[in-house]
C-alpha cells in the first residue's frame, strides 16, 4: 500500500566536511583577491575563464570521473559539497558548470574513446565551456519535435537549421546538440534524433545574442548553414538520442543549484531582521528555513542514491519541481517579510538590490532545464498514471 518514493537520510562524511573547509578557504582567498563579491549575485552568472582554470587546478571539475580522463574519482557527495558552497558564495562558475554537470557525463558514457581522451581532460582543467543545443524556434519542452537536420555526406554530416535560447553559446567552445537524422516513425515519435558534439569554431555556425529581460545577454540563437561535422562527432546511437536523454535527468535536476539560485536574499533578510525579529519576521523566516532544510536534505539524499548507482529519476524530478518553485517564490516571501520594517534599518538598500536581482531572474527558474509542467508529467509517469 506504499509508494516507492525513497529519501534516506544520507549524511555527508567527515571527508566531505574536510573538503568543505578547503572549498571555503579557496573561495575566501578568491574573494579577497577581488575575483568576485559574495554579496553580488550577478557574479554567479558571469563567465570567468581564469577562475574556472583555478577551480580545475584544485581538482573540483569532473570530480567523479575516472582518472584516465582527467577526473578525480571522488564521490557524488563530494561534488555536492563543492557545488553548494560555490552557489551559496555566488562564485562565478558559469564557464565550466554545464560541462561539469551534464556534457562531460554524457561524453563519458557515449563518446568514442579518442574524443573522450581529447575533451574530458580539458573540461577537468577548466578550459572548456559547453552549451546545450536542444530548443529550437518550433520546439522547446517538446524536445522530440526538433527539426534541425543532419544530412549524411561523405565522412560526416551537414547540419542545417537553428537552435534557440541556447545559454552560453556566445562563449562556449563546444555544444552537445540534438539534430534530426531521420523522420520520426509511426510507432515512436521520439525516433530519429541523434546527439552530436559540435565544435563552435566550425565553419557555418552563426551565434546571434538574444538579450534577456534582465538586460543582460545569456540566450542565443545558433544558426547552422551546411555546417560539416565529422562522423566521429556522433555521440551515441544514430536516431536513438531519446534513449540517452532520460537517464541523465537525475543528475541535471536534483542538484543544489535547483533551489539555491536566489538563496542570497535569505541571509540578507536575517541581517535586515536583526537579532530579535518580531513575531511576523521570526515565523516567516522559520518557515523558509524549514523549507530550505527539507529541500537540501532531499537533494543530498538523491546525491547519495546517484553515488549508490541508482537512477532516481522521479525523486530527482521532485527535487527540481519543489526546489525551483521554492526559489522562485523566495524573493516574494522575503519582500513581504521585509515590507513593514523601517527603511533606515541596517542593510535595507542591500536587501532591495538583491531582491531586485532575484525578482527579475525568478521567472526563468521554473522553465530552464525542464519546465514545472514537464517535470510533473515525469513524476505522474513514475506514479503509474501514464
Amino acid at each position: 500500500m506504499t509508494t516507492s518514493l525513497s529519501f534516506d537520510p544520507v549524511r555527508l562524511s567527515p571527508q566531505c566536511e574536510a573538503l568543505r573547509t578547503e572549498v571555503r578557504a579557496f573561495l575566501a582567498q578568491e574573494i579577497s583577491a577581488g575575483t568576485f563579491e559574495p554579496h553580488h549575485p550577478g557574479y554567479s552568472e558571469s563567465y570567468d575563464r581564469d577562475f574556472s582554470r583555478r577551480v580545475g587546478a584544485k581538482g573540483w571539475i569532473g570530480m567523479t570521473w575516472p582518472k584516465q580522463y582527467g577526473g578525480h574519482e571522488r564521490s557524488q557527495l563530494e561534488r555536492y559539497v563543492v557545488t553548494e558552497e560555490f552557489r551559496v558564495a555566488n562564485a562565478p562558475a558559469n564557464f565550466h558548470f554545464v560541462a561539469d554537470r551534464q556534457s562531460g557525463p554524457i561524453l563519458l558514457k557515449y563518446a568514442p574513446e579518442h574524443i573522450k581522451k581529447d575533451i574530458l581532460p580539458r573540461i577537468c582543467r577548466g578550459e572548456l565551456c559547453f552549451a546545450i543545443g536542444m530548443s529550437e524556434p518550433g520546439s522547446g519542452s517538446d524536445l522530440f519535435a526538433a527539426k534541425t537536420k543532419a544530412t549524411k555526406v561523405d565522412g560526416g554530416w551537414h547540419i542545417n537549421g537553428s537552435k534557440i535560447w541556447t545559454t552560453s553559446a556566445h562563449i562556449a567552445n563546444y555544444m552537445l546538440a540534438l539534430f534530426r537524422t531521420s523522420p520520426p516513425t509511426k510507432e515512436n515519435r521520439r525516433h530519429g534524433l541523434t546527439q552530436f558534439l559540435v565544435n563552435m569554431k566550425t565553419q557555418g555556425i552563426t551565434v546571434n545574442p538574444i538579450y534577456q529581460m534582465t538586460g543582460k545577454p545569456g540566450f542565443n540563437e545558433v544558426v547552422f548553414v551546411d555546417t560539416f561535422l565529422p562522423d566521429d562527432h556522433v555521440i551515441g546511437e544514430i536516431d536513438g538520442a531519446w534513449k540517452q536523454a532520460t537517464s541523465e535527468l537525475a543528475y541535471e535536476r536534483s542538484g543544489p543549484e535547483r533551489f539555491l539560485d536566489t538563496f542570497y536574499v535569505l541571509p540578507e533578510l536575517v541581517r535586515t531582521l536583526g537579532p530579535e525579529p518580531d513575531l511576523r519576521g521570526a515565523e516567516g523566516l522559520g518557515q523558509l528555513v524549514a523549507q530550505l532544510h527539507t529541500l537540501r536534505r532531499m537533494s543530498v539524499s538523491v546525491a547519495g542514491m546517484l553515488q549508490a548507482g541508482k537512477e532516481p529519476v522521479v525523486e530527482g524530478s521532485i527535487v527540481k519541481d519543489l526546489g525551483t518553485v521554492w526559489e522562485q517564490k523566495l524573493p516574494a516571501r522575503v519582500r513581504e517579510l521585509a515590507a513593514l520594517l523601517k527603511p533606515e534599518l541596517l542593510n535595507h538598500t542591500a536587501l532591495e538590490d538583491q531582491l531586485a536581482h532575484a525578482t527579475t531572474i525568478a521567472p526563468k527558474l521554473t522553465i530552464q532545464g525542464g519546465t514545472t509542467e514537464i517535470l510533473r508529467g515525469i513524476i505522474a509517469r513514475g506514479l503509474g498514471l501514464r
Partner: protein, 355 residues
C-alpha cells in the same frame, strides 16, 4: 539510516496492523472492540515499549527501529496510543525509570504549559490536549521542581480529565494534576527540558504524518487510475496528473524531512542546535505537507472521499490533528526563526550545511 533490523521490526508492525487495524475494515466498525485485540497483539510483540531497555521492562529496540514502527503506524492512520506509549517509555527510560505494561501517554504536549513538582514530590498544574489520556493507564510527566526537571510516572486515575476529541475523533484530554503523588520519580538528565520533549514529540508526529501521506498517495493514485469520467480514467487527465505529482512532492518532502530528523535524534548525544533545526523543520514542513496533501487527495476523490463510509478521512483528519500536537507549525517556525536570527546572518549557512 534504516538497516535490515529496522525493517524487520517495521514489517512485524505492518503485519499486525494489516491484520487487526486495516483502515477500511475498522472504518466500518461501530465500536472500538478491535482496539483491545490490536493492543494485546502489539503488546505480545513488545512493540509499545520498544524504546525501553530490557532491564527496565521493555524490548530495547533502537530509536531507528521505533521510528520505523511509527512510519508504518502512520500508513495505517493508527488510532491507538502506540506513539504516545513509545514516547512515554523513552521519557521514563531516559531517567532510568521502569515502564509499566499498559498504554501510556505523555505530558506536557503543548508549549508554554508546565507541571510543577513540590518539595515533597507532589505534582500540580493543568495541561491541555494530552493525546489519548482517557484511554491510557499512566502518564509520563516532565515536571519542574524549581531546581531541575523531573520525570515522573503518574496513574491516570489520580488526575482529573476533561473529555475531548481531536478532528479524527481520537480522545484528547485536558489533564489536571492537583497535588498528585507520582508512582515513580527520577531527575531528568542534564540539559533535558520541555523543548527536548516537544522536539521528540514533534518528530514522532512528523514521521507518522509522512506515513499517512504515503498511504494517501497510494490510495489517490489507485483511485485516479480506476475512476472513469468523460470516458477515461481521471488519472489520464493532465490536470489530475499535475495535482497528483504535487501530492507526490509533498509526500517526498515529508518523508525526507521527518526521516532526517528521526535520524538526527537517533544519532545525536543531546538535543543540540542541529537537532533543533531538524526537529523544528520536520514539524513545520510535515504540517505544510499535511495541509496541502489532504486538500489534493480530497480533490482527487471528490464526493466519495468526503463520506464517513470512505476511509480517506481516517488519514486526512488524523494528520491534520497531529499538526497541533507537541507545538504546532507556527510555534516551531517562530522558535526556529528566533534561533536563526540570534545566531546572525554569517552563521546561517554554516548551520544549514552542517546537517
Amino acid at each position: 539510516m534504516l538497516d535490515q533490523k529496522d525493517h524487520i521490526v517495521a514489517e512485524t508492525a505492518a503485519r499486525i496492523f494489516a491484520d487487526l487495524a486495516d483502515p477500511q475494515t475498522i472504518n466500518r466498525e461501530k465500536n472500538g472492540a478491535w482496539k483491545e485485540s490490536l493492543w494485546q497483539t502489539l503488546d505480545d510483540a513488545k512493540l509499545p515499549l520498544a524504546w525501553v531497555p530490557e532491564r527496565l521492562g521493555g524490548s530495547g529496540a533502537s530509536l531507528a527501529e521505533g521510528f520505523a514502527i511509527l512510519g508504518v503506524a502512520g500508513r495505517f492512520a493508527l488510532a491507538v496510543p502506540l506513539a504516545e506509549t513509545l514516547a512515554s517509555g523513552w521519557l521514563l527510560a531516559s531517567a532510568g525509570l521502569e515502564a509499566p505494561a499498559a498504554a501510556m501517554t505523555v505530558a506536557p504536549a503543548r508549549p508554554h504549559e508546565r507541571i510543577t513538582m513540590s518539595a515533597d514530590g507532589r505534582l500540580n498544574g493543568r495541561v491541555s490536549a494530552i493525546p489519548f489520556a482517557q484511554d491510557c493507564a499512566h502518564i509520563a510527566v516532565l515536571a519542574d521542581n524549581g531546581k531541575r526537571q523531573q520525570i515522573a510516572l503518574v496513574d491516570v486515575k489520580d488526575c482529573r480529565l476533561t473529555e475531548g476529541h481531536n478532528l479524527a475523533g481520537d480522545s484528547v484530554n485536558t489533564v489536571t494534576f492537583d497535588c498528585v503523588k507520582p508512582k515513580r520519580i527520577a531527575p531528568a538528565t542534564d540539559g533535558f527540558d520541555t523543548t527536548s520533549l516537544l522536539l521528540m514529540g514533534a518528530v514522532i508526529r512528523g514521521v507518522e504524518t509522512a506515513g499517512a501521506l504515503e498511504a494517501i498517495l497510494s490510495l489517490s493514485v489507485a483511485y485516479a487510475n480506476e475512476r472513469v469520467a468523460f470516458e477515461r480514467p481521471i488519472g489520464k487527465f493532465q490536470a489530475v496528473q499535475q495535482n497528483l505529482a504535487r501530492l507526490a512532492g509533498e509526500v517526498a518532502a515529508a518523508l525526507a524531512v521527518s526521516g532526517s530528523a528521526a535520524d538526527a535524534i537517533a544519532q545525536a548525544e543531546s538535543f543540540d542546535e542541529g537537532v533543533f533545526l531538524e526537529g523544528a523543520s520536520a514539524k513545520v514542513r510535515t504540517a505544510e505537507a499535511a495541509r496541502e496533501g489532504a486538500a489534493i487527495a480530497h480533490q482527487v476523490f471528490g464526493a466519495i472521499g468526503f463520506t464517513q463510509e470512505h476511509m480517506l478521512h481516517r488519514f486526512t483528519l488524523r494528520m491534520l490533528s497531529w499538526r497541533d500536537d507537541f507545538g504546532n507549525e507556527s510555534y516551531w517556525a517562530v522558535e526556529l526563526g528566533k534561533r536563526i536570527s540570534s545566531r546572525g546572518a554569517n552563521e546561517f549557512w554554516p548551520l544549514m550545511a552542517s546537517r
